[in-house]
């Protein structure tokens, strides 16, 4: 008998090697439901992953389990990453889990990152679109749930810090499937009120609870708001898409109220400071002007006002002399011109201006009448010529010469083809008509 018997250990070791050589098994992603969950006192987690038909043992060592963001429970759907290998001692294979997320949640994270990137690429988070938050808002819109800590925190913070500010609450659903549409509607509604700023808030909760604030339509409504919006959603660590697109992000609803309004005492001391500076600036101004006034009062002119007058007197004399001289020069010049004109030849022989004009007139008359006579002569000749032509063409004249015109039925007969035997024809002669019956017709040759 040469049959070889292996030990169990050897077999399990060999099978383990087979598993470990499969690269796909070394880093595998699985989804399933947790059952038989045990949290060992030393910190390791033991559980079973299953779906409708199969199950798989799972272990998560403390070194990985300490990073979990949630407390696993039986029935919870999860997404795990790990290595499938063999537990030699038990002869079982199992998954050694390194990372585990709540199922659905994993998708939410992906959606969040995708939307964040999309909106960032579109520029919705850009600084240049952030509206300035007024420093002293007197009318504040609040969009949050009517019940709960958030609205209480916001209102009590505003009352404590800046009680002269009025608030209007636009109650909104802040979780659940209808929340996103309700928040969008309330942002639009709030924009129809004369508000200085809007606080968009919600208390803490799970990522699903806060999800409405990660919806694209909510982000776009915040972006489109004409009134600046301060977001305060969840706790310090929670960042939502709304926070990125809002004009100002506060870590919590209380924080949002603190950013929205100043402390009354700070404002009072600001005004006091401004008043002090105002008075100081005014004092400086008055002192400067007083100094100026004193300087002017001490000036030579003020002390010797007549000196101003003396100078003007001298100027006046000077100008008066120049004026007198200029007028005399003008009179002399004009007298000279008058003399020259009086002595000129034309002035003494004014008829010279008309002599050649009279000659031109007579000549023009002569030329006109001879042209008119020529035109009349031409017209007369034309008339006589046309009269002769007319005489030649007159048909009566032709008839007088012995020619006749033959008609039948009022139509002139030009050819034998238009008549036949026994037709009655009319012959026109110079002094009357002849009615005849056709006896014969002969064609020329």
């Amino acid at each position: 008998m040469n049959t070889k018997y292996y030990t169990i250990t050897a077999l399990n070791k060999a099978i383990k090697n087979m598993f470990d050589e499969k690269r796909e098994l070394n880093n595998i992603h699985l989804k399933g439901e947790i059952s038989n969950y045990k949290h060992h006192t030393r910190g390791h987690l033991y559980f079973t992953l299953k779906d409708d038909n199969s199950q798989l043992s799972a272990i998560m060592f403390f070194s990985n389990a300490k990073n979990l963001l949630f407390e696993p429970k039986d029935g919870m759907k999860v997404l795990v990453t790990g290595k499938v290998s063999v537990y030699e001692t038990g002869g079982t294979y199992q998954i050694y889990v390194t990372e585990m997320l709540e199922d659905g949640l994993g998708n939410l994270y992906l959606e969040f990152e995708k939307l964040k990137k999309k909106l960032a690429d579109e520029g919705l988070f850009n600084k240049e679109y952030k509206k300035t938050i007024p420093r002293f808002p007197l009318k504040i819109g609040i969009i949050t749930a009517k019940e709960g800590a958030a609205i209480r925190d916001i209102i009590s913070t505003i009352r404590r810090r800046f009680p002269i500010a009025e608030t209007i609450l636009f109650p909104a659903l802040v979780q659940g499937a209808d929340a996103k549409n309700d928040i969008v509607a309330k942002i639009k509604l709030a924009n129809t009120y004369p508000l200085d700023v809007i606080i968009l808030g919600r208390g803490g909760g799970s990522i699903e609870d806060l999800w409405a604030f990660n919806e694209e339509i909510v982000a776009r409504a915040i972006f489109a708001s004409e009134i600046p919006i301060i977001s305060g959603v969840g706790h310090e660590i929670d960042f939502t898409i709304s926070d990125f697109v809002a004009d100002l992000r506060a870590p919590t609803p209380t924080g949002a109220a603190e950013l929205a309004v100043p402390n009354t005492s700070d404002v009072i001391s600001l005004i006091e400071q401004l008043r002090i500076r105002l008075i100081k600036a005014m004092n400086i101004k008055i002192n400067l002007n007083y100094e100026k006034l004193k300087n002017l009062q001490n000036s030579y002119v003020i002390k010797n006002p007549l000196s101003l007058y003396e100078k003007l007197e001298q100027n006046f004399d000077n100008l008066y002399e120049r004026l007198k001289r200029a007028i005399n020069n003008q009179i002399i010049y004009n007298n000279e011109r008058l003399k020259t004109i009086k002595g000129s030849f034309i002035f003494k022989n004014p008829k010279m201006l008309f002599a050649d004009k009279a000659y031109n007139y007579n000549d023009l008359i002569k030329r006109c009448s001879s042209t008119i006579e020529k035109i009349l002569e031409n017209k007369k000749n034309n008339y006589v010529h046309l009269l002769g032509k007319l005489e030649v063409l007159n048909p009566i004249t032709t008839l007088k010469r012995g020619y006749t015109v033959t008609k039948m039925n009022d139509k002139t007969v030009n050819t034998i083809k238009s008549i036949k035997k026994e037709d009655v024809i009319i012959t026109l002669v110079s002094d009357g008509e002849i009615e005849s019956v056709v006896k014969n017709i002969y064609e020329n040759n």
């Binding site: 002293f136 009025e166 009072i268 105002l278």
Partner: protein
Amino acid sequence: MDKKKINFEENIKKLENIVHELESGNVALDEALEKFSEASKLSKECDDKLKEVSESVNKILNADGSLEEFKIEE
């Protein structure tokens, strides 16, 4: 003067502008005096508004569009 209609934001801004202008010293005396009295008025208005003793006004918008007082337990 209707105190509710004071634009706090604008008044403080105007006040600050006047203070800056006067501090710069580039204002003629007549104008400076005018601005000084305007600024004094503005600061008094803002101050009065802040010190006005009144209950803070908190309202809620009802579904029917009406506004009513909103009370919270503190």
